[in-house]
Point group: C2
Chain length 430, copies 2
């Protein structure tokens, strides 16, 4: 007797088997990768980059299939652009692989070492984390970036791309596989979930025997779902509600340049500022030009009463504006009493991502840097520097607002754990 | 209309309110602690130690109440001993607080710093984790140790002791409170769950808004429950199934001393060895004396066929013996082909806690240290050194077999997170 329900159950069981097989292969590959020297991993990355350049036509063809399917659906222009691959974008992906090959291999690095009075020599040595699950949305280039960062840091990767980019991701993954094979590394080192079934994501989030850490890359909906459902530790940030605070001691020109850059250089990145706080002590002189710069650059300004007073183009800010990550040409502006009020506002409304103070008064700046509880705090520099590359860490897999393990940009070093290696000469414990 | 069920619901709601109030107070205290200088925290620790010495009689009286209640129940002698406080044990607790006051304060330490080509100066600076929940069993001294370690590292603590030690923990907590008050720190910095209701533990494990990390201290049952139920990251180890591997190149005397010490110095600690692996290349010479030492010291030996052959007192080991953490005077002994077989055995049966190789051959030792995937790996030293104090870290809150955040002994440094502090001179991102 076979009913629709039986078939449903069979399908679930099939998917479960498939995912567990992926997990087991990843775990086995992780053991190999942990012992793989840097040269071999770099060889694989170089070969993958070559395969990507040689196979650009196949990748473009696969992407055309995805784009055609996307065109049939009601997808936004922004989403279509994220999905699109071009020869330039493929070359950029290949260059990305080459750049990751050039990074220092963190595995085996000694973080610190010391000797005990009894002669024991203790070292903390970096080791890979194990297996990393990456769940992402429409950008197919994440397949290359994330797979390569995991490989470089000695971790096996299980990649689950968005269904819109299914064919593109498969074509890119084929290049990574070619790289692994050229270096004699197991296919299990970088695997792509071979189904669009959304249930696969749910399964990944429970496979704690096989996956050590989950990295979601995408919109708020995805991150929130993963953070709520996962039984595996998640490295991510939900919001980047970043603040620029212009202190009474701020240099006016610097304040104007940084405020504009922090908001408008790119509005769609997590380090873009979303709220501008202006010290009441300089509001009379600084507020109007700061607001004018933003308005003139095409930014919508939503302000408190004081801000509404300086330009009639300013709209009314409501409480929800202080909480909103616009990721768009919109900013909330507020006058605060002083640095203490700025810190309190950020604590109440912020997302602990990235905040900046513009001030000439070093003491005030140090207080802000010490008391604001965010992954990144900057003095006299744009929040748009919140980026692993800008920090000199090379590529990043994302930015974390976690307090555990990795906070801020997550590069290859943050994708490692450590172990203690102890050398003795026969010591026993008394 | 009031039914038994309504009353039950009311009680649940009451407990929930009570726990959330604890959480809110802890969160508020954590913000204060993050800014509290080392001297003030040390003052609180010193005052708490003094209160403990002055109040020894009250603590002993409270402990007598717990002991009397315990005597009415069918508790093991080991458990009663863990519960018992004596003047010496109280003095040891007070000394523990003094020792923690002497440790370096990790908060504010610069982990690393560098300058970017654009002039940005970037520093990774240690900050507290936030709020730490500690769930423990019968030992009342954990109240003092854990509370003090959290305070030193700038974290607020929510302590949930075992119901057997309820009065003892309350009396100890009163001393910690006296210390906090003497230093002008909020009571919320170290709170003790004021009820024996087991439902409080379940609530703690879901309070992710208020608690950043859970540290369970106790038996396997507790750790397993916490790891399975918690929605908050857990730092812990479930098992310490530690191995000593005697390589063919091992010095016989060293092998005998370390094997005996690793097993028998103290059998109840997580770093005690549970399985002895002997290389077939030296089994003919080394196996019999190694086994005889253990048997003569009163250790039960469960061996494979080869081991059974060297002494008639050896019992038969079954597959489950290789997986068992005895925490007792029992050891499993096996002859393995070589170092590769030892590594495979440890991978298959071990718990990634602490393993040791005894070998004169440095190349073999380095292979073992590199390939064995445990928090601590030792060459020619006893596994009983797996301890924060022995590592020079001062007191530890436990040992972690997590791969994320903290692996191995967890001291004050491991109870911190970090943030990036960036100093600029007006840089904007091009």
């Amino acid at each position: 007797m076979s009913t629709a329900e039986d078939i449903g159950d069979d399908k679930v069981a099939d998917l479960q088997r498939q995912m567990l097989a992926l997990g087991a292969a990843a775990r086995a590959a992780a053991a190999v990768l942990a012992k793989t020297p840097a040269e071999v991993k770099n060889l694989a990355l170089g070969a993958a980059a070559a395969a990507m350049r040689d196979g650009a036509a196949e990748i473009l063809a696969a992407n055309a299939t995805d784009m055609a399917a996307a065109a049939q659906r009601d997808l936004s222009a922004a989403l279509l652009d994220r999905l699109l691959l071009t020869p330039d974008r493929i070359e950029a992906m290949a260059k990305g692989l080459d750049a990751i090959a050039m990074l220092n291999d963190p595995v085996g690095d000694t973080i610190s070492e010391w000797q005990r009075p009894n002669g024991l020599a203790i070292a903390r040595v970096r080791v890979p984390l194990g297996v990393i699950g990456i769940i992402y949305e429409s950008r197919p280039n994440v397949t290359a970036d994330a797979g390569a960062l995991c490989l470089k840091s000695g971790n096996a990767a299980i990649l689950r791309g968005g269904s819109e980019s299914f064919h593109s991701s498969r074509a890119i993954h084929a290049c990574l596989l070619a790289g692994l094979r050229a270096a004699g590394l197991p296919d299990g080192a970088i695997q792509l979930v071979p189904t669009r079934d959304r249930a696969a994501v749910g399964l990944m989030l429970t496979m704690h025997q096989h996956i050590d850490i989950i990295v979601p890359r995408g919109g708020r909906g995805l991150i929130e779902r993963v953070q709520n459902e996962s039984r595996i530790p998640v490295i991510a940030h939900l919001d980047g509600n970043c603040h620029v605070y212009v202190d009474g001691s701020a240099n006016m020109e610097m304040a104007r340049e940084i405020s504009l850059n922090a908001k408008m250089r790119r509005t769609g990145i997590c380090g873009a500022s979303e709220t501008l706080l202006v010290d009441s002590h300089c509001a009379a002189s600084h507020l109007a030009p700061l607001v004018k710069d933003l308005l003139d650059a095409g930014c919508e300004v939503r302000g408190d009463e004081a801000t509404q007073g300086v330009d009639q183009r300013v709209l009314v800010a409501t409480d929800s504006d202080w909480r909103t990550e616009y990721l768009d040409s919109i900013i909330a502006v507020k006058v605060v009493d002083d640095v203490a009020a700025a810190i309190t506002h950020i604590e109440n409304y912020g997302s602990h991502h990235t905040e900046c103070i513009i001030a000439d008064d070093v003491e005030v700046a140090e207080r802000f840097l010490a008391e604001v509880d965010s992954a990144i705090v900057l003095h006299n520099a744009s929040t748009q520097f919140a980026d692993g590359g800008e920090f000199g860490m090379g590529a990043e897999i994302g930015i974390s607002t976690n307090r555990l393990h990795a906070r801020g940009p997550v590069g290859v070093e943050q994708l490692t754990s450590y172990k203690y290696v102890v050398h003795g000469q026969g010591q026993i414990r008394p």
